[in-house]
């Protein structure tokens, strides 16, 4: 039950994109087409779950016992960067079609603040290992959901008559604002 709450909390109630503003850059940059949004969401979810596992182990068995907490930021970002590199190599070896689909998006994930944010949130809230993994999964699902919804809306928006100065990023942000308002409706769930 506790795990379910963490999952739903991260996926919809406190959606990473729409209420914590994490991962806005890909949210605006890659939400033009639905197919690329799905790929990006899947890759990000995968890296989020992996990061949750690795940074939790690193904090619990290396940084904590050795009293190296001040190295947290540096250590975590290095973990994220090497994880992304590793994931890229594994996918290239095992599944070339998936690699071609995700190819350009993978390196971008390093600078997605949702990943580092997840690692920091896990430390702030003192989650256990299983809780961290579920939290990572929930965050990934929430990110994918927001990205896909936005991509669907933007595909329709191409046909709409948007006032000139608002075209592009402006209208995207306004749509995101409306979506954030809608997601506030989930606040009563927990």
């Amino acid at each position: 039950m506790d795990l379910l709450l963490i999952f739903i909390g991260a996926a919809v109630v406190n959606n990473f994109v729409l209420s914590y503003f994490l991962g806005i850059c890909p949210f605006i940059g890659v939400s033009g087409r639905l197919s690329s949004a799905v790929s990006m969401g899947m890759a990000t979810t995968f890296v989020l779950v992996m990061t949750a596992m690795v940074t939790w182990v690193l904090q619990a068995y290396v940084l904590g016992p050795l009293r190296l907490e001040y190295l947290q930021t540096v250590a975590f970002i290095l973990v994220v960067a090497s994880l992304v590199q590793f994931v890229e190599m594994v996918i290239r070896k095992t599944s070339p079609p998936l690699y071609r689909a995700l190819g350009i998006f993978l390196p971008l994930i390093t600078t997605n603040c949702a990943i580092l944010g997840l690692a920091l949130f896990i430390q702030l809230r003192g989650y256990g290992f299983v809780q961290s993994v579920v939290f990572g999964l929930g965050a990934g699902v929430g990110f994918t959901l927001a990205l896909c919804l936005m991509a669907g809306i933007r595909e329709e928006l191409d046909l709409a008559d948007v006032p000139g100065p608002l075209r592009g990023a402006g209208i995207t942000l306004l749509v995101a604002g409306t979506m954030a308002l809608a997601f506030m409706g989930f606040a009563g769930m927990i």
């Binding site: 729409l18 209420s19 914590y20 503003f21 994490l22 991962g23 806005i24 850059c25 605006i28 001040y70 190295l71 947290q72 930021t73 540096v74 970002i77 290095l78 960067a81 390093t110 600078t111 997605n112 603040c113 990943i115 580092l116 944010g117 920091l120 949130f121 702030l124 006032p163 000139g164 100065p165 608002l166 990023a169 402006g170 209208i171 995207t172 942000l173 306004l174 995101a176 604002g177 409306t178 954030a180 308002l181 506030m184």
Partner: protein, 232 residues
């Protein structure tokens, strides 16, 4: 003289022409997340200025010794070091501010502005120009954050830097909620685009006007307004 002019341009370009918030849309996450109050905007901006100046300086100093393949990793380690300095300093000196900015101080590491300037500018230019570029970009970012933060604070709670400016104002609570951040920035971007377009259209009209005049002089040999013929 020429060097001084270009040095000034180096700083000024970050304030408007290439403003990271309004024109390049970089560093959106902290921009939207912390700008609930104007003070938060200023504090976040100051932290980014410090990290940007230090990392740009450091990277431009060591740029010739970093092999191309590992440069991004090297930049990130340099940036993360300065971010840790800021984070620990703020925790010790300004605990309140630090807790209201929360995880967004350590998240400066993945702020695209800083890595972007490192890659696009500091890795190709000398230390002096890199620092100027960092100051300009940092101030542009601070300006954007403070503007957004002031707007949201005034409309959302009727205060500015904690001082009441709109006494009998029914606060628009939505402005300090996440949705308000998206909506405000979206409208500001629209406004900025409108201003740029108007200015550009006016400039283009002026250029067309000028070229028409030169063309006429070339054809007729008469400048407009000269009383030589009754044609005008």
């Amino acid at each position: 003289m020429k060097a001084r002019v270009s040095a000034r341009q180096e700083v000024l370009k970050g304030l408007w022409d290439q403003n990271p918030v309004f024109r390049q849309l970089l560093g959106m996450c902290p921009t939207l997340a912390v700008t609930v109050t104007a003070l938060n905007g200023v504090a976040m901006g100051a932290a980014v200025v410090f990290v940007l100046v230090c990392s740009n300086l450091m990277i431009s100093l060591v740029r010739k010794w970093i092999p191309g393949q590992v440069r991004i990793a090297a930049y990130i380690v340099i940036i993360a070091t300065f971010v840790t300095v800021v984070d620990l300093t703020m925790k010790a000196r300004f605990p309140e501010l630090s807790s209201s900015l929360g995880a967004f101080i350590p998240l400066i590491v993945v702020n695209c502005i800083i890595l972007g300037r490192a890659e696009a500018f500091a890795s190709k230019n000398g230390p002096w120009r890199s620092v100027l570029d960092a100051v300009g970009m940092g101030l542009g970012f601070t300006f954007g954050l403070t503007f957004l933060g002031s707007l949201r604070e005034v409309l959302g709670s009727g205060t500015l830097f904690g001082v009441t400016v709109l006494p009998s104002w029914e606060p628009w609570v939505v402005m300090i909620l996440p949705a308000g951040g998206f909506l405000t920035l979206g409208l500001i971007l629209g406004g900025v685009n409108l201003i740029t377009r108007t200015v550009e259209a006016r400039r283009r009209r002026a250029v067309v006007e000028a070229s028409r005049v030169t063309a006429r002089i070339a054809v007729t040999g008469i400048a407009p307004g000269s009383p030589a013929r009754g044609e005008a």
